[in-house]
Symmetry: C2
Subunit: 412 residues, 2 copies
């Protein structure tokens, strides 16, 4: 597999996709959706090959790898949904007249070539293609080797549908080489790729952020905190924390840590810990938490840093608002944090001082998601500060350019 | 010099500056402006030490290094101008209600810690501090070793003024160590610095983009093209090209290459070349250009890649619109390109197809500049596609965060 030639092709295809109209792009997306459904038997057979090879001990992992008719329909529905979203390309953000008569404005344009490196879930292949294509970009995808048969089948079905409509099928390319060496080469193709979006575990994202010469948008590392202050509605607080921890513990917007104001600790710690225990959550607490709830295991320094992605939670008692804010600044991954309070002042201070992608008052952190926030779809959740922050929809896959209309102006 | 402790301090100061009100920040900027003017004798004496050491053979370089009363006033005026700009921080971009009653919005916040690495001009020290501070960021600056005395004096004057107002003077820190090794360490402080903005020559920017573990905003590499199509007003075209090439040839928005449609080549090539020659511009042309203007030197492949930043220009005759677009995509640095034409269709096509930060119709590329575009001030011109593109004003030094206001919502 020659990565260089994939890069050259992707760059040429970026110019091709950029010129397609919204109508042409939607036609491709809808045709692809149909093709997925009408080729489901083939896709499922190929997925079965991956499942046969899968390590039986990793049941959560295998669940994500597994496809069935319902999951194929849901991928197709995802493409139809993207087709229904407004075309973000060629929107003129503003156009103003300068004193010298020049008209200057900014226009939204595609980024160019988007690279994605991701792990097991085959649906990412379809989602990523749909979002990159709708936003006028060509894409190069590299899925995990465990899903190679599934991804190859999905790409084949999509590319055939694209080609049947008379377009170049290479508007989306897939790297089939399962070696790690190819990932290393991929992330150094900065001559051809404009942005690289890794999706997966902490290790994958860290490796790419540190070694890529292509600008990277880091996604989805959490360690989300909920701070319960002395003015919280305690019943509401228990419900929110139970939801944020247990509704889907394996994802990046799940709550991993709870900070509790000292003044309510003697009442709220046992109340919360009993409720969490009942749901099967393992509790790791500081010494004050353990003095109010003896079943809690001791939390170590490492616990405060850890994103469990599991039915485990770390709980700490803090002396004051400032301590909670300091703790969050020190240990958070900058994803989502919430304050539970009925105090107007503390709510405002938390919103102003906490420096994370999503800052909540009185709600579960589980809402940090492109669809929940009304962006229509999501290619990932950015936890960095440049370019895109929080859930990334179609606009995160675009850039702008200045447009200047003159009639002979020169600079004096 | 302990870079680690500079980083830790900068991170603490980011939280401090973020909380200052617009009024407090403006008071600092105005006081700093006054301090520069009232300490001008000291600053000029220190600048003299740099000038004494300067290599006499580099006159353009020394001109940029040299300070005088007028230049100090102009730095002070720059700070006053930044003070007059609207505070970009805490603007809520939108706030919408979701069906479940949650209110979700985005708010503009500072990036945090901004690092800058730049070359000779001491005024960058003052400009960068002003823009970073107004946008609520703390900053770490590293100027060129040739301007060390000047920069140290400027920083001392600014920091004293900041401290006199009762603020921490470390809201802006300066790296005085002149070694290259310190730059290498600086660009790896990703634990403390949120964005690194290099300003200077191609080599500096390339080194930083390739070696930094901090996200970088690449600035200011040009190689700008002007395409004169067969429907151009030729008199207007000569005036625009002369302006774009000669008004200030040493800067990144100067025109470096002209592409001319074949159909007008026999008339326009001699017309343009004579005018350029008269201004002292050296012409390097392809074989067609040389057949119409024999004094032109032959242009090599390397010429098409080169940003001369000098009184030299490369000229090429192209067979068609598409050839001009292809040439630009192949050789341009993605900074600024212009088409000169009276054809509506060609103007629209050029605007749509050219993928540069600024795309012009019938005007000089020299306008690509934050002040000219009405951004108020500029920290550099981004030639990358992520985060900021083209001239970067205060908003390029900010990010956003999602704010979510609930009353107990949980995800179902």
């Amino acid at each position: 597999m020659n990565l260089e030639s994939i890069g050259i092709e992707a760059k040429a295809m970026a110019r091709y996709v950029k010129k397609l109209t919204g109508k042409e792009k939607n036609e491709v997306l809808l045709t692809c959706a149909e093709a997925l459904e009408s080729n489901s038997a083939y896709i499922l057979a190929e997925n079965q090959k991956d499942m046969t090879k899968a390590d039986e001990s990793r049941s959560a992992f295998n669940d994500r790898l597994m496809l069935n008719d319902q999951r194929i329909s849901s991928m197709a529905e995802g493409l139809r949904k993207v087709a229904r979203l407004e075309d973000p390309i060629n929107e003129t953000l503003y156009m103003k007249a300068l004193p010298n008569g020049l008209q200057v404005g900014e226009k939204r344009t595609p980024i160019g070539v988007v690279g994605m490196i991701y792990e097991a879930r085959p649906n990412v292949t379809v989602d990523a293609f749909g979002l990159c294509f709708k936003s006028g970009n060509s894409s190069i995808l590299r899925g995990g080797s465990e899903a190679l048969h599934s991804n190859t089948a999905l790409v084949e079905v999509l590319q055939n549908a694209i080609e049947k409509l008379g377009h170049h099928k290479t508007v989306m390319q897939f790297i089939t080489d399962p070696s790690r060496e190819i990932v290393r080469q991929f992330m150094r193709l900065n001559q051809y790729i404009d942005v690289l979006v890794p999706r997966g575990g902490v290790e994958l994202i860290k490796t790419i952020a540190e070694n890529s010469t292509i600008p990277v948008i880091e996604t989805g590392v959490g360690n989300c905190h909920i701070y319960v202050d002395e003015f919280a509605d305690l019943d509401k607080a228990v419900k929110i924390i139970i939801n944020a921890k247990t509704q889907r513990p394996s994802v990046c917007n799940a709550c991993e840590k709870v900070l509790i104001h000292e003044e309510i600790a003697s009442i709220f710690v046992p109340m919360l810990c009993q409720a969490l225990s009942k749901c099967g959550v393992e509790i790791r607490g500081d010494h004050q938490v353990r003095s109010f709830f003896s079943e809690a295991k001791p939390a170590t320094e490492e616990d405060w840093h850890t994103e469990y992605l599991d039915m485990i939670i770390g709980i700490k008692v803090v002396k004051a608002f400032e301590w909670a804010v300091d703790h969050i600044h020190q240990y958070s991954g900058g994803h989502s944090e919430a304050i539970l309070t009925e105090s107007y002042n503390n709510a405002q201070r938390f919103l102003a001082e906490i420096d994370s992608a999503a800052v909540y008052v009185n709600a579960s952190t589980r809402f940090t998601d492109g669809e929940e926030f009304g962006l229509g779809a999501e290619i990932g959740i950015s936890t960095q500060k440049l370019h895109a922050r929080g859930p990334m929809g179609l606009k995160a896959l675009t850039t702008t350019k200045f447009i200047i209309l003159g009639d002979g102006q020169i600079r004096v």
